[in-house]
């Protein structure tokens, strides 16, 4: 999708006024946080597992070229093909080419954030393929024509009523005559309609959570089973994934699976943890005739060599989104591209450019929760600050911010002037606010006073009081 991150401030303001969105987000946030906490509480070894997993992932990435080549060789040994894509456009082209060569008409998809990142659906639709998302959340937002608003719960911003409306509008062609209101009926309806699509599809496309260098398998983690039907029913299976996902062995990956499942949904293990490699074997009674993996770089090798290398450890669990007070209030769409929240505010400027996304790293209160909950110990607050520093250095900060900081720096280096600059307005405010004790409105602070009153200052500045006290022999 075309990034809209430059509109962040407007997007966020609109989101804050969206009653339905606030309702949906409020409901989701508590659930995510509580489920994760409960899942971690029963694993006393959590912090040790977390520390070890960081080292395992770092080891894989320190030798990334070696493990990718091993993975490739094993996929080929299992009868599959590996395609390398330097850019988003290359990835889409590789997949469109395969679909055209095999004469595909219908393509079903399991949820893939890399697919979102490279704009795969748009490319497939432009090439004339009927493209159907099969994860329920992805299917809902595909009907709505929206991007995902959360990396593991793409339709988290939608209320049940909105889903009911979407099905009523779009499922008449499949024989739906009445409006379905309750959740089980809506889930059944999606199951009924998508079942035909699974069985009719020529090509199935899924993502991958991890790639195993030793065996050429990839790990696919889901709860609905749509990823597995997509991997097993069509005659061609294509996997799209990022190059950072390779791990040496299944043993090295097991801890990461535990960390991912607990952090994402609070599960000890997701319903379906599946390993796949290659097409159907001799004698197999089901499975695809062709198997392809598209390995996407799209900025990842640049991250490997720069200041944001630690971000490559990300396993896309969404815990940083769920614990971010900014994300929790404005939802994912305000961020303007496919990756929202703290992880998105680090990745988006790297992938679409800091100029487009300079506001995102500022949408942060520096409360540090994202870094604390990250199962891969990614120092998200530090990485966000790095973006802010670069944005400031490159003159991408707004004029107000730059002048404000310049003015503050001028005063901060001149303590006497600084004291005076604080003391005079304070005295004035104390005098003016003496009667009511508070201010409803203040010049230059309209945003602050919009939601609360400013108490009138009483007495003198701390420095002045301190001087007086010391002078008084205290």
């Amino acid at each position: 999708m075309q990034p809209q991150s430059h509109n962040f401030a407007d997007n966020a303001r609109r989101a804050l006024g969206d009653h339905k969105l606030r309702q949906a987000m409020g409901r989701a946030k508590d659930g995510f946080i509580g489920k994760r906490a409960a899942a971690i509480a029963i694993v006393p070894e959590w912090q040790r597992i977390r520390a070890e997993a960081k080292e395992l992932r770092s080891h894989a990435q320190d030798n990334l070229d070696y493990y990718l080549e091993e993975y490739e060789a094993q996929v080929q040994a299992n009868g599959g093909q590996v395609h390398w894509a330097a850019s988003a456009g290359d990835a889409c082209q590789a997949i469109v080419d395969i679909c055209q060569r095999v004469g595909a008409r219908t393509v079903t998809k399991g949820k893939s954030m890399v697919g979102e990142e490279v704009g795969l659906n748009q490319a497939l639709e432009a090439a004339g393929f009927e493209t159907i998302e099969t994860d329920l959340g992805e299917y809902i937002i595909q009907l709505a024509g929206e991007p995902p608003s959360h990396i593991i719960a793409p339709a988290v911003h939608k209320t049940r009523d909105e889903v009911a409306d979407l099905f009523q509008q779009n499922h008449r062609q499949y024989g739906l005559t009445e409006r379905l209101n309750d959740r089980p009926a809506l889930v059944d309806e999606a199951r009924r309609v998508l079942r035909d699509k699974f069985l009719a599809a020529d090509v199935g496309i899924t993502g991958a959570n991890f790639l195993i260098a030793e065996s050429g398998q990839h790990v696919l983690i889901t709860n609905e089973g749509n990823g597995d039907l997509t991997s097993c029913l069509p005659r061609v299976h294509i996997v799209i994934t990022g190059i950072e996902k390779v791990m040496p062995t299944l043993e090295d990956t097991t801890s990461l699976i535990r960390l991912l499942d607990a952090s994402a949904t609070g599960q000890q293990i997701s319903n379906y943890t599946s390993l796949y490699s290659g097409p159907k074997r001799a004698g197999d009674l089901d499975g695809p005739d062709e198997f392809h993996v598209v390995l996407v770089d799209n900025g990842r090798s640049r991250m490997l060599g720069g200041a944001f290398r630690e971000m490559l450890r990300c396993i896309r669990c969404g815990a940083c989104l769920n614990h971010c007070p900014v994300y929790g209030n404005i939802g994912g769409h305000a961020y303007g591209w496919v990756y929202p929240g703290p992880m998105g505010s680090v990745i988006t400027p790297i992938m679409v450019g800091l100029e487009e996304a300079a506001s995102l790293p500022n949408a942060c209160t520096l409360n540090g929760r994202c870094g604390e909950v990250c199962p891969m110990s990614i120092p998200l607050p530090d990485l966000l600050r790095k973006h802010r520093e670069t944005a400031f250095r490159e003159g991408l900060a707004s004029a107000g911010t730059r002048w404000g900081l310049a003015g503050w720096a001028f005063l901060a280096r001149r303590p006497r002037l600084y004291q005076l600059a604080l003391r005079l307005p304070m005295k004035l405010m104390g005098l003016l606010g003496r009667r009511r004790g508070r201010f409803r409105k203040l010049p230059l602070a309209a945003a602050w006073t919009a939601g609360r009153d400013m108490p009138a200052p009483q007495g003198d500045t701390f420095m002045a009081q301190w001087a007086k006290r010391r002078g008084g022999g205290a």
Binding site: Q217, C232, N271, D284, L285
Partner: protein, 214 residues
């Protein structure tokens, strides 16, 4: 230059190298892989069967003990009657040798769209998580695990392992890498509408384990 060369070249440049790792380092990495070193594992109680049952219960998987594998067909028929299903079962060819009752129409092979019941054996079960491990093979098609609304698994007590890591040597013991290995833990579910869990998204609505003494 191919896309492969471009991407690998970029990775090597980022890692401060201008070519692949030296032979000595490659040898070290090969050795490291071959060791199959494990990380810290969560505690699992000594009684593996009890842990497995607790794990399965957590994820709404039902479990029934039977005397031996030979008792599986009768238990499957009882399952069909209990849930009012059509008396048709798609079964894994691995189970075709069992003595299936005449009251049940048995199809040995992959699952089709109209099958409401799939019956399979499995490689093992994991006490830590309550998971069933199902590698694909000519004798165990993967569609049986996902397409029918009901999945019944036949498991021997001796097939229960402690941790997820204990599955990996068993997989290597199969020889060639299977196309698919399903590690399934309970019936299919979704929380995509209002973050509330609903059972029966795209995969089975029921998952039932027949735990055989031998």
């Amino acid at each position: 230059m191919s896309a492969r060369d471009t991407v690998l070249g970029n990775i090597r440049a980022a890692l401060g190298r201008d070519g692949p790792l030296a032979d000595e380092q490659r040898q070290q990495l090969r050795q490291r892989v071959a060791e199959h070193r494990r990380s810290t594992q969560p505690q699992v109680g000594d009684d593996l069967i009890a842990a497995l049952k607790a794990g399965m219960q957590r994820v709404q998987m039902s479990c029934e003990e039977i005397d031996g594998i030979a008792a599986a067909p009768a238990a499957v028929l009882a399952f069909v009657e209990r849930h009012g299903l059509p008396a048709v079962a798609a079964i894994a060819p691995a189970l075709a040798e069992l003595d299936w009752p005449a009251a049940l129409a048995v199809h040995s092979g992959a699952a089709g769209r109209d099958h409401q019941l799939g019956v399979t054996a499995c490689l093992c079960a994991v006490a830590e998580t309550g998971s069933i491990v199902l590698p694909s093979a000519a004798s165990s098609p993967t569609t049986l695990n996902f397409l029918p609304e009901n999945h019944v698994v036949v498991l021997r007590r001796s097939q229960v392992v402690r941790h997820l890591e204990d599955v990996w040597p068993l997989l290597r013991g199969l020889g060639a890498v299977p196309r698919a290995v399903s590690i399934n833990t309970g019936p299919s579910r979704t929380a995509d509408i209002e973050q509330t869990i609903e059972i029966g998204a795209h995969g089975p609505r029921r998952m039932h384990v027949l735990l055989a003494r031998e």
